[in-house]
Amino acid sequence: MNKEVKILLRKGSVFILPIIAWICIVIVVDPFNYFNISNIVSEKAKEKSAQQINSLLYNTINFKNNPKNSIIIGDSRIRKLPTEKIKQLTGDDYYTMYSNAAKLNEIIDLFWISDSLWFSVNSINLENVIIGINFNLYNQYSYSNRVADVKKLLANKFIYIFSWSILETVYLALKNEFLGFQPKKKKNKKEFWDYTIETIAKNHYSKYKHPKETLLRLEEVRAHCKANNINLILLIVPHHKEFHNRLVKFELVDEEKKFKNDIKDIGRVIDFDFPNSITDCKSCFGDPIHTTDSIGEIIVDEIFSNSLIIGKEL
């Protein structure tokens, strides 16, 4: 063999070693249980790191590995709905498919992914779907496209292995496993409350456009659910009244009415976000848009025991 060919092969082989090493590390650490073949890193370290970096990917892969016929889809607000309590009341085993700061277009994408993942295993469609939807998500500008990334990662091992969020998560999982968990910094409730009312609400409401295309996509979800006997509930979780007042300040009251009117045609809508004993009560919320666990239990109780006391059906 030509001497120069030998040099190229030798140096090329050495050059790709770090790449091979990285592939091995990802397969061994496997923070999202993508390959599901290694237990070297504890499940707790994996989950904590993966949820912190990319909850959307973790929850999707987790659902893929353990699919259920009933799901709750939404952003971080629907995490407060206790699935054990739903099981006690109905016998149905629900999976919470959520992503932090999920947008409505992503929630719809998650519906389709979940349905296809369940269908691919059981050859039938989902039975029960609860979609958490609030007015602040119902905005053309409330848009993100992370589910497209998740789809690519699920479909292509190469993209998964060389994804930035996998790099971050592998590092964090190894750190958590071998150096112990770092205690989470506690947020100052008052400061975060004020930040949510001032800045987050402004981000949500200061630029608004009716989401025509998203509504069409919701109608496709409705048609699919109807055609396949999927029990669809749209749930509007409560916000504290101070957060709602910001919506009034940005002159979006009519748009909010339109939102509730629009989604009434999509499925059974259960509304908790109107002036009531929860929205008036500051201690019922961790922050202006996230209820406490006990309020989550009340909401589940009302929906699944078919006795709406605080909430109402639209």
Partner: protein, 449 residues
């Protein structure tokens, strides 16, 4: 990118026509007879290009004109895809025929080698547009395996991939998001998207050129340089000596000079310049936006010529000529002019371009307000951090370009210790692997031309 395998017939047709036309011309002594054969080549090649690229545009404009006068015009649109690389290989093969006609290049007797010249895969779809004098002789040379040459080619490909996949595709998220939904954006978003487009198209196209040149080099072929740090140009004429060099020299040699170039009366010189840039704009695409873009560059050059003497006079009085401040001003001013023209290049239509121009500075007082910027960018699915990362990548790329001014970066890197060399390779390689926005893969912009 869409394609149809049947369109291979077009490149075969162009190849065969130019091969036989050139052979015929070589056999003829009289220029008049040679000219007839040259016309056959020009008409058939440009005819194919017109049919597939420009017919629908011209047809739609005639339709609109007739509609204005309520006259029936029933010529239907031609339902075709734009064949990949047609503008590039048409110009490449035409340059050969014209050079044979002018006696500047010998006729090629080997059909297979000529076909490889027309369809040489590294540069087939988006250039550099090679000249027969430069590329054809290389097919007759034996290319021995060379470790250094292959390494150099791979290094250039690596840098090209980095510019395309990491920088251009990341900038495209903002640019496409804004320019395809203009009604939703104003002020700073429009400005950011427009500046980002200037770097997106540079990284996209020069990235492709680097990959093409690098991959050809791996096989032992040298292609011409297509870009030389264009955004450091101190004038528009310098910009065109640094941007898409293979195309601008093509237009210089086969259109501008045959029109008379600058060896004519002044008004005719201006006319030649303007026509050359107008045609160059039209070469890019069948849309009024490209015509305006080309026309703007033509106008810039004419104005620069007209203002030469007053400018010299002012610089002499202020004693600024050649100083750093003067150079900085020249580079910045040229960049602003180029970016302004890019608005027309990127906008989907003329009214969109005017929307961008009219609204770009609508909230100039809030340009430094990050909170407002965040709200303004809502709907793109990205945050301020993504913008900052993009700016950082642009800065990195321009620092590379600055470092390149004193010589080829990779050759300079050869003198450095191994940890630094390999470190640089790994930064680029892992950058490509980890920083590329895979869910938003974009074709090369110039594939559409």
């Amino acid at each position: 990118m869409c394609w149809k395998v049947e369109y291979i017939v077009l490149i075969i047709a162009s190849t065969l026509i130019d091969y036989f036309v050139a052979k015929k011309m070589a056999d003829l002594k009289e220029k008049v007879k040679r000219k007839k054969w040259l016309l056959i080549s020009l008409l058939s090649n440009l005819g194919i290009l017109f049919g597939f690229k420009y017919f629908n545009f011209v047809n739609a404009n005639i339709q609109a004109l007739f509609d204005n006068f309520n006259i029936f015009y029933g010529v239907p649109a031609f339902d075709v895809l734009l064949p990949v690389g047609i503008s590039f290989y048409t110009f490449q093969t035409l340059s050969y025929t014209i050079d044979v006609y002018n006696g500047k290049t010998p006729v090629q007797n080997h059909l297979g080698i000529f076909a490889v010249y027309v369809s040489f895969f590294p540069q087939l779809v988006a250039g550099p547009i090679e000249r027969s004098r430069h590329l054809l002789p290389q097919f007759y040379v034996e290319h021995k395996f060379s470790y250094d040459r292959i390494k150099y080619g791979l290094q250039q490909m690596l840098w090209g991939f980095f510019k395309k996949v990491v920088i251009a595709d990341r900038l495209a998220i903002v640019v496409d998001g804004v320019y395809n939904n203009l009604d939703d954006y104003s002020g700073i978003s429009l400005l950011i998207a427009t500046i980002f487009f200037a770097f997106q198209i540079y990284c996209d196209f020069s990235g492709y050129s680097d990959i093409a040149i690098g991959s050809a080099r791996v096989m032992g072929f040298e292609l011409i340089d297509n870009f030389k740090r264009p955004y450091f140009s101190k004038s528009i004429s310098e910009f065109w000596r640094r941007w898409h060099i293979s195309l601008s020299t093509w237009f210089r040699d086969y259109l501008y000079i045959p029109l008379g170039g600058n060896r004519v009366v002044k008004w005719r010189w201006y006319y030649n310049l303007f026509i050359t840039f107008l045609v160059s704009g039209f070469w890019h695409g069948a849309n009024w936006t490209f015509l305006v873009w080309g026309g703007l560059h033509g106008a810039y050059l004419i104005i620069a010529i007209v203002l030469i003497k007053p400018k010299e006079y002012i610089l002499n009085i202020l004693n600024l000529e050649g100083g750093f401040i003067h150079k900085l001003y020249q580079v910045t001013f040229t960049f602003v002019l180029v970016v302004f023209a890019w608005i027309f290049f990127r906008a989907n239509n003329i009214s969109d371009a005017f929307y961008v121009i009219n609204n770009m500075f609508s909230d100039i007082g809030d340009y430094t307000n990050l909170g407002k910027m965040k709200i303004n960018l809502r709907g793109l699915g990205i945050g301020i951090n993504d913008i900052l990362i993009s700016i950082g990548l642009i800065a990195f790329m321009e620092l590379y370009n600055l470092y390149e001014r004193s010589g080829d970066v990779w050759i300079k890197l050869e003198q450095k210790p191994i940890w630094l060399r390999w470190g640089a390779y790994y930064i680029l390689l892992f950058g490509i692997l980890f920083l590329a926005p895979y869910s938003r893969v974009n074709n090369f912009i110039y594939f559409q031309f």
